[in-house]
Symmetry: C2
Subunit: 433 residues, 2 copies
């Protein structure tokens, strides 16, 4: 990742220009890592990608990098069927084992796998802050250092965590997540801001969930995130139990509470919304909210199928985004089709996330790129002047893609392929190979 930034003219055989793949498109990138021009530039390409297609890099809107350490674990059920809650125990056990070295290694492993599979931005929902005592935040820079080592663009969603359940103290592994005051949290945010490389790093504000943050503090965190012009993320209604606990403790469902208390939804991303009431979900989106879906994790954890099919035709595509969440598997193609397929299985019909022309793959790509960029407040997700030069390059000669033509290539990638078709990526114009 030590290659210096330089001005480039990139030309692939095909370039995704937002609605289609086009031949003969040149992409000019300046030495700050931004795209400056896109089109027929009548000049010689400095980076000629023969037999390759150029796409915007995927934006992973929701990740917990350290959970990469659980891949292939927690899939045994000697005492009968498991649940999200039994999985969480395995996750807490991992949390208790981690130190700075092992957290760095796992984070590098996750970020490296993301980048090599076409993900150029990660929204890291970071709540594992402390080695032992609360309020030390020694792990925050560990995660940033891992992203730097890999050269992936990161939006660090610095996460506030106050209670172990609605109104309950944090216990055991949860103590590694804990902030004891909003003041301490914001001091750490201020400290982190000073260390960021603005060409590749940004900060977002996150309240872990309404299990872990009281409503008043959710409201205060969000108000400050608006004042600072930062995105605001929160886990929401992934589990029936979480909705019930919130009703018990605060007499409102989590989404009702957000809709009641937050001044705007324009900077808000609600993660999961598996058990959200469709009317409330529509209201949230109508007021500008984003929903982050994590289809593979939601399937693995047995969360359920979110009520999106019912409202899918009212959406434009950028209100939704995708995350690899637990990183049990890292594969944006599989997340894209997983989003569509869960809804097909539920509704017993096809073509749920259609765009204005009825094309599913284009809509899913928009969700996996522009949707994530909007959610994280990052200038990426499209190949367009002014945005960062973040790209995924696909090998058109891959046997998986045999038979595709420029008109069906995207459909083949989204429905038929896996990350093995990705040959290289660029983040801010810097190639990984």
């Amino acid at each position: 990742m030590t290659e210096p930034r330089r001005r480039q003219i990139i030309e692939a055989d095909l370039t995704w220009t937002g609605m289609q793949f086009e031949p003969g498109v040149q992409v000019e990138v300046d030495d700050t890592g931004r795209i400056t021009r896109v089109g027929t530039l009548h000049t010689k390409a400095t980076t000629r990608l023969t037999g390759q297609a150029l796409l915007p890099g995927f934006v992973n809107a929701h990740s917990h990098a350290f959970q990469r350490g659980l891949r292939g674990r927690g899939e045994r059920f000697p005492d009968g069927a498991g649940s999200f809650w039994s999985w969480r125990e395995a996750m807490y056990a991992l949390v208790n084992r981690l130190d700075a070295k092992s957290l760095f290694d796992l984070s590098v492993q996750a970020f490296q796998e993301m980048r090599s599979t076409g993900i150029t931005t990660v929204g890291e929902f970071h709540y594992l802050h402390h080695l032992s005592d609360e309020d030390r935040f020694v792990f925050d820079t560990v995660v940033l250092d891992a992203a730097r080592a890999v050269g992936i663009r990161i939006a660090l969603l610095q996460t506030y965590y106050r209670t172990g359940g609605c109104g309950l103290p944090a216990t055991g592994g949860q103590r590694r997540f804990l902030s004891t005051s909003l003041e301490g949290y914001w001091s750490q945010v201020d400290r982190l801001e000073l260390t960021l490389d603005p060409t590749r790093e940004s900060l977002g504000i996150a309240a872990h969930s309404l299990r872990a943050v009281p409503p008043d503090e959710v409201e205060q965190l969000h108000a400050e995130s608006v004042r600072r012009g930062r995105p605001f993320h929160i886990h929401l209604e992934e589990q029936v139990q979480e909705v019930a606990d919130c009703l018990d403790a605060y007499d409102q469902r989590p989404m009702t509470l957000l809709l009641d208390r937050l001044s705007t939804m324009e900077n808000v991303t609600a993660v999961h919304c598996t058990h959200t009431d469709p009317t409330e979900l529509t209201a949230f989106i109508d007021r500008g909210g984003s929903v982050s879906l994590c289809p593979l994790t939601e399937a693995n954890l047995g969360d359920g199928i979110p009520p999106l099919g019912e409202i899918s035709t009212t959406l434009r595509g950028v209100e939704l985004c995708l995350g690899t969440d637990s990183n049990a598997r890292i594969a944006m193609m599989e997340e894209m089709r997983g989003l569509e397929y869960a809804q097909r299985l539920k509704a017993e019909r096809r073509g749920i996330f259609r765009d204005e022309d009825g094309t599913v793959a284009r809509r899913l790509l928009r969700i996996a790129t522009q949707g994530g960029a909007r959610s994280l407040g990052v200038a990426s997700g499209e190949i367009r002047p002014g945005l960062w030069a973040d790209f995924a390059v696909v090998d058109m000669a891959a046997p998986i893609l045999a038979g595709a033509d420029p008109d069906t290539l995207l459909d083949s990638i989204v429905f038929g392929a896996d990350p093995s078709v990705v040959t290289r990526t660029a983040v801010g114009g810097i190639w990984d190979r």
Copy 2:
């Protein structure tokens, strides 16, 4: 595929021996392509697979190879949501375009992709028989030739197709599927039998469905399949409409009809069973029947989620098998987790297909290997003396598998990986590279 068969001693760093991966296991293969011994043989390996793990090759119990030509197609819905039936129109359009050359090319493409992703046996549910008029069967040898060219083991499920719907004449593209009499069908089966290479090819009997074959003929086909000791396959209850049509025409649901009329279920595989009544499904399995699931195709086509979670704990694992069906995507790892994940999403709990020890990955592997071998009547699916030497080799150094140990490697492959971890395969002892 011209390498001669020879006696080999294969030793990988880890070998799957049925319940676990074990180091130091040697597998002896004789010059007929069968496994003769497995264990610590105190001899020098002739094929040393360093840094690799040896698994039984996957058995793909249900494929329509020619549908590989639809990958990335039929995913646009300008007129609103689609269905199985609108997809079928796109499939018929492809059927009408194919000639011997293009069918051969597509079949090679599909079989090659299967083999390179670890599938060593394909059950080809073959109903596209004719170039123009019925009863010529010119395409049967085309498909067999394609399998030979790739060197994949094939069970050709020679499919009888008589009507275009319950009691309706076949029309359009359906004429390419048609048999006009049972006699003509069995004559063709007899002709094909004479051409088979018994070390790599076998025949099964299939009735397309109760849409396409009247109940009396299903019964006669099955009786003859029993007499000949051949497996019998049939598409069953994939669509609500199919169940309704069968009820209208014959006063029974398709599964009721099978249970009523067939003398044994021991050689019967019902494909899909998406809308089968759970009590009937249990009765079918109790009498020895196999169920072939095709999770990615069933999701893509919006079929629905079969009622397996409800009865999963009564199953041993070999009553179920997996197929890539439409070949829109070819990836057995994704089929395995797709089977489990659809049930998790439906039941909102984890660990549906547990084996006797509560391990999901082992149960899913058994379904993807032994289950298919049982369904197709092929001596494969395990690394065990007497069976064909059909293997998939996995690169343990693949970044996707980083962090796995011998105890969790299978879980990582099934839940975390894709076919890119497969480095080579053997069919009857003959390696692809």
